[in-house]
């Protein structure tokens, strides 16, 4: 029996984001900035070693535009986004 583990994925609310850039500063491992300072998040689950940083980044976003989603591979789809869990 394999137990599918929940993973966390990051996404950006493109309307809310105003390119403060704090997320890329805190989480340069998986977030880079485009030519205009808006974040590009690497796709896929956040590595467990970066989880606490990811939560901090989501919490510290002045626009609350960085979203953490619990992704359950068994359920197949991402669940409701939760900012700053």
């Amino acid at each position: 029996v394999t137990v599918a583990r929940q993973t966390i994925e990051l996404s950006v609310d493109p309307i809310a984001c105003e390119a403060y850039g704090y997320c890329a500063e805190l989480l340069g491992e998986i977030i880079s900035l485009d030519e205009w300072g808006y974040p590009i998040v690497s796709s896929g689950p956040v590595p467990t070693t970066l989880l606490s940083l990811a939560k901090k980044a989501a919490r510290d976003c002045p626009r609350r535009a960085l979203l953490l989603r619990r992704h359950d591979p068994a359920a197949g789809s991402a669940q409701r986004p939760t900012a700053g869990v």
């Binding site: 609310d13 493109p14 309307i15 390119a19 485009d34 205009w36 300072g37 808006y38 590009i40």
Partner: protein, 204 residues
Amino acid sequence: MAEEPGTCLVTIGGAVELPGVVEVDRGVALRDIAMLSRPVEPAQAFLVGGYGGTWVGPEDFGTPYASMSLRTIGASAGVGIVVVLGAEACGVAESARIARFLADQSAGQCGPCVFGLPAVADSLEQLWRADVAKDQMHLLHRRLGEVAGRGACRHPDGVARLVTTALRVFAEDFDSHASGFPCRSANSPSVLAVPGLERKERLS
């Protein structure tokens, strides 16, 4: 048997004698749809699906106008418009005009669209003028990657699709423009009905 039953309406424009709406059987080749409006010169490309659509080169002119067939060449009927680009037009110039218009149409909600689309249009306009001060081809490729899929709606995706197909279909023209030698049609008047174009080009 035809790929899809029935007929559909297609709006044809560009380098044709009889622009307007025609009713065609689904599955008729793109080339034959264009012929209905009597092209005034040999076509170098069709714009299929409107401004957020795709440029289609001569090798695909035989593609049936039906969803599955169009999908195999990366196109779709989109808003049901086919524009014929004649041999005497510049694909770089026309794509730059469309990109600028679409950039102006942004709803202004998401950064990558607000800043990205004008930047894409800037690159295209520099290429149109054959300005080689910067490597605009490199910039353009990077910018296209930075706008596609990054808005709350699909407006930027449509621009990226149009410009990406332009780079493929007009590859030779882009090469010569990027090397500082605009094609001989670079200053031809536009065959497109881009709103506000006349006024803008008169001002500049």
